[in-house]
């Protein structure tokens, strides 16, 4: 049996969804033979592989780098999963959508710094004017809302996919769960 390649990606989120993923614990061992984790903050690989079977996205699309990344990833992924509320709805990062990016930068970098106020530009990607849920920029195949979704929910969805079933999380998780 060929293993399914899996990637996990961390955009604008708190890493809670990745923690919940790890909370699958020993059951990860149960599916270890079926998967190959090819790209993730948890493994040491710099470039996104040519072709991945299942990619789990944590976090919203908040800056230019997120946007470039997600477009590239979409093009090289078979099944794309929005994992967690930030990816699914924008969640906490999207709180700034009501006021725009500029006031946030002002508050973070200018106001508190009495001596040398400046907004960093070198080596950091510019913020997008609006924080986006992943599906508003690329096509998404599976949504797993939750903040974070429970380990059980993630495990069940993964198992379904590994067994070529369309995962159904309806009634098992919710926004904010």
């Amino acid at each position: 049996m060929t293993r399914k390649t899996i990637a996990t990606v961390w955009l604008d989120g708190c890493s809670g969804c990745h923690m919940s993923f790890l909370d699958i614990d020993h059951r990860l061992l149960d599916i270890a033979d079926m998967i190959e984790l090819v790209y993730s903050p948890l493994v040491d690989r710099k470039d996104f592989p040519e072709s991945v079977d299942i990619t789990l996205i944590e976090g919203s699309v908040s800056n230019q780098a997120d946007l470039d990344k997600i477009r590239h990833i979409r093009a090289h992924t078979r099944t794309l999963i929005s994992l967690g509320d930030c990816a699914v709805t924008g969640n906490v990062p999207a709180l700034r959508n009501t006021i725009g990016a500029e006031p946030v930068l002002q508050r973070a970098y200018m106001e508190p710094d009495m001596l040398n106020p400046q907004i960093p530009t070198i080596g950091v990607p510019p913020l997008l004017p609006v924080v986006r849920a992943v599906h508003t920029v690329v096509r998404v195949d599976v949504f797993i809302p939750g903040c974070p979704p429970s380990a059980d929910t993630i495990f069940n969805a993964l198992s379904d996919l590994l067994n070529d079933r369309q995962p159904s999380v309806a009634g098992k998780t919710r926004f904010g769960a």
């Binding site: 929005s82 509320d85 709805t89 969640n91 906490v92 999207a94 709180l95 599906h135 904010g176």
Partner: protein
């Protein structure tokens, strides 16, 4: 005295008084119909459109909460089309306000959130509006967070119809509509508010909450409305 009518809901024979609504008769018979703006004990406004049902011979969809039953009526409360419209209406609410469930006092106890689960909504495919809305924390015991308000007007009705204070009302039009206290004054300065908290307990979301509640801590107790409704029913 109202006459009694027999009708069919989802093919099931049921009976009801002609002054009863489709919703009332459906519930008496254990047939669920989703609702948001409706709450037992207050007047019905037919605003959320979640309870729309199909009635044979009528081309328009009818709100179950305001439509009275009639002899021979054939009602269907479930269809792919109805589910699709109900999902869209709930998605619209999520897209209209700023509903960040993960940091909300009502997380886990919210009727909007619950409705999304019940209807199998796992993401919002309609455009988010991300409006800029305020929070009024001027009242000593309660807070109003307009970002979470779904304009069901339950607070307006309970304050007017049960408490008799009519502190709340609606201002503005379209997506600019907002519930206000008195003539858009600070809630804390309201000379009409009796601080009874009925609005807070009736609000389906975390828009109205008791100060000091942390995430997920705000549960609502609106059984007083059920009690009032029952007492009224006994008087009929």
């Amino acid at each position: 005295m109202s006459r009694v009518a027999t009708l069919k809901i989802n093919g099931q024979d049921v009976s009801g008084r002609e002054d009863e609504t489709i919703l009332e008769v459906a519930r008496e018979n254990g047939i669920p119909i989703p609702t948001l703006c409706q709450i037992e004990g207050l007047s019905n406004v037919g605003a959320c459109r979640l309870c729309l049902v199909e009635v044979t011979g009528i081309s328009k969809l009818l709100p179950a909460c305001t439509t009275r039953v009639a002899e021979g009526m054939e009602v269907r409360t479930e269809s792919d089309r109805l589910t699709h419209y109900r999902r869209m209406a709930v998605e619209m609410l999520f897209a209209e306000g700023n509903h960040i469930c993960s940091v909300c006092v009502s997380n886990g106890h919210c009727e909007l959130q619950g409705m999304a689960v019940a209807l199998g909504i796992d993401h919002i495919h309609l455009p988010y509006l991300a409006p800029r809305r305020g929070v009024d924390a001027s009242h000593e015991r309660f807070t109003f967070d307009a970002n979470r308000c779904i304009l069901c007007t339950r607070c307006v009705r309970v304050c007017d119809e049960i408490e008799g204070a009519h502190t709340w009302d609606v201002m503005g039009r379209g997506v600019g509509s907002v519930v206000i206290t008195d003539l858009n004054e600070r809630w804390g300065d309201s000379p009409t508010c009796t601080s009874c908290g009925k609005c807070v307990q009736t609000c389906p979301t975390g828009a109205l909450f008791i100060k000091g509640s942390a995430v997920g801590e705000m549960t609502k107790r609106n059984t007083f409305l059920t009690y009032i409704a029952q007492m009224r029913g006994n008087l009929k």
